[in-house]
Assembly symmetry: C2
Homo-oligomer: 350 residues x 2
């Protein structure tokens, strides 16, 4: 009977809880609407009830190793407090881990509770069970409304000095570029995120040069990155141009990260990552030009490196160093990456 841990994905809209075996098998997954408006005590009560129920149910099959909670925001790893979170207002400087531990205190077998950043657990999830399975050194770049990032070194999340490593979205790509919500200018997430796609479309529409985009925007109440992608794959030149620019900037960001870190693999996740065919050619073009390391180790057919990744990642450790390749590939686990990664952080290192 397998030992198991519980992973929690505490988002701004959903609260998801999963029991996962130590070997990475999903035992059960529960999705609850997080009523953030009802306050943090309510959310934590709901979460702890679910952890308690799942842990009791599966304790018959194996040892309960602990619970990992993926949270959007900056976490003080030492104290288990949430220092800052845009999606969980009112949670800052609240002792989240201590409150969970207190409520779960009734469970005699709880090994530990670990609070972790959501991008970090997503990276660990992909490394454990997804696109980077078996790859010890990798990072995930999450393309959503903004750009998130998580780094795994030697199979463990790299936190940096105070849990703020992996802020890929705020790498400067254009020193005099678009203003960013962070107060800076020209940040990566102003050029290679869902918001960036919509901004570029709005700019094209405002210029009066993109009637197809204008028509889509006025007829589609949910006009967004996905609508623009659909136009792009139908061959609309204005939409395609937006994704070319997106791919170019994503390629510059990845080149920078590769030149600095020389990791084995970069996994592209988040909602926009699936528009791969629209942005990947320009992304790889920049990578070949801007990254010494990528150029020196590029897979022979970069456009298929999503496929190559799966094969080569697994065998990377047995290859000679000079034959190893920098792999850029799509995430495999979608939103479950964070859930699996959260379950994984709860497992004590063997």
């Amino acid at each position: 009977m397998p030992d198991f841990s519980i992973g929690v994905d505490l988002g701004g809209t959903n609260l998801r809880i999963a029991a996962v075996s130590g070997e990475g098998q999903l035992l059960e997954k529960v999705t609850l609407g997080t009523k953030v408006a009802l306050g943090r005590d309510h959310v934590i009560d709901e979460m702890c009830d679910a952890i308690q129920r799942l842990s009791e149910k599966y304790r018959a099959t194996g040892k309960f190793l602990g619970a990992g909670i993926g949270v959007p925001g900056i976490i003080d790893m030492q104290t288990g407090m949430l220092r800052k979170s845009a999606n969980l207002p009112g949670w800052a400087d609240y002792p989240v881990r201590a409150e969970i531990e207190r409520r779960l205190g009734l469970l005699k077998n709880v090994a530990r509770v670990v609070l972790e950043n959501d991008a970090n657990v997503a990276a660990l999830g992909e490394q454990w069970l997804g696109a980077a399975r078996g790859v010890l050194n990798m990072a995930v770049v999450t393309l959503g409304t903004g750009i998130g990032g998580g780094i795994v070194l030697g199979g463990k999340i790299w936190h940096g000095m105070n849990g703020m490593a992996g802020e890929f979205g705020h790498v400067t790509l254009e020193p005099e570029g678009h203003p960013c919500g962070c107060g800076n200018r020209g940040c990566a997430e102003q050029y290679a995120s869902a918001s960036a796609i919509v901004r570029m479309a709005r700019e094209s529409i405002a210029s009066g040069q993109a009637p197809s985009l204008a028509k889509a925007a006025s007829s589609d109440a949910e006009f967004g990155a996905e609508s623009i992608y659909n136009l792009a794959i139908q061959g609309d030149e204005h939409a395609r141009r937006i994704f070319r620019s997106f791919g170019r900037y994503l390629g510059i960001l990845l080149s920078d990260l590769i030149n600095v870190l020389n990791l084995d693999m970069f996994v592209i996740g988040g909602g926009v990552s699936s528009a791969w065919d629209a942005y990947a050619p320009n992304m790889f073009e920049e990578l070949r030009e801007r990254s010494l390391v990528y150029a020196a180790t590029a897979p022979t057919d970069p456009l298929r490196s999503d496929l190559l990744g799966k094969e080569e990642g697994a065998s990377a450790q047995t290859e000679s160093l000079t034959e190893r390749k920098t792999i850029i590939t799509c995430a495999l686990l979608g939103s479950d990456a964070g859930l699996f990664g959260a379950a994984r952080v709860a497992v004590p290192a063997s």
Copy 2:
């Protein structure tokens, strides 16, 4: 009597060899002109003679732990071969480590020979005995003709997948910027190196707008970054503008590195680093604007962070996480950093 190791700095012009005790005390340093033109066998013979002489001399005082060789170029850590080196023509794909081991085979007590990149050993030297003493996670940015880099994580050199981590000089700062020797455009070393300073000065002179620079260039046979720095500290506005631009781009590079890695300390080394007073104000201005992490943890008086660094680095591990600061500081060991770091890599991890 202390155990000791030997560090070698194999540059394009000098060959320096030092015996260093396990506690970091310099026992003896030898500087030889490397006659690179006489071929690699000659250089390695000279190096091995010196290693042999020093190791025999100090073996009376303690155990000889091994020799570390800092080399400019890309090294295959597994095979101990130099894969590529601009400064050591003819050494590529030559089994450097094996050749040294063969020659030193006569020495019964040689624990090991380690070949390591020169920027990496410089980083380790500063971490062991210099500006970042006691700081486990740090990087060195070396400002010379180009920009070099070395990363130390958990007290050990971070090599990445194939020894190419820390290529800070080729991070893109201006996507459509100046062409770089690497084939790319807008690389950091085109904006924040000694060559960049001279290029900017030549551009100012060519524009006819900088008579003071033109005069210095025509009267000074060795006109270079140092002459321009001397003009800047004398108040010459054209020279000062060059260092302001230099500081701005160095600040952007450091912001990117901090946002990605969240390291405790960045040490600025290399010849140009000593022009600190001319570039630091603009560097810190960019850091405060562009790095979330730096802004959140900035020392109260950033212009004095070179001094702060020395004090706070040492005590960083005892401070609470939220109180820890990202320190940007000047290197302390100059060209000896690489020599000490090379001696350090030869010491087996305890």
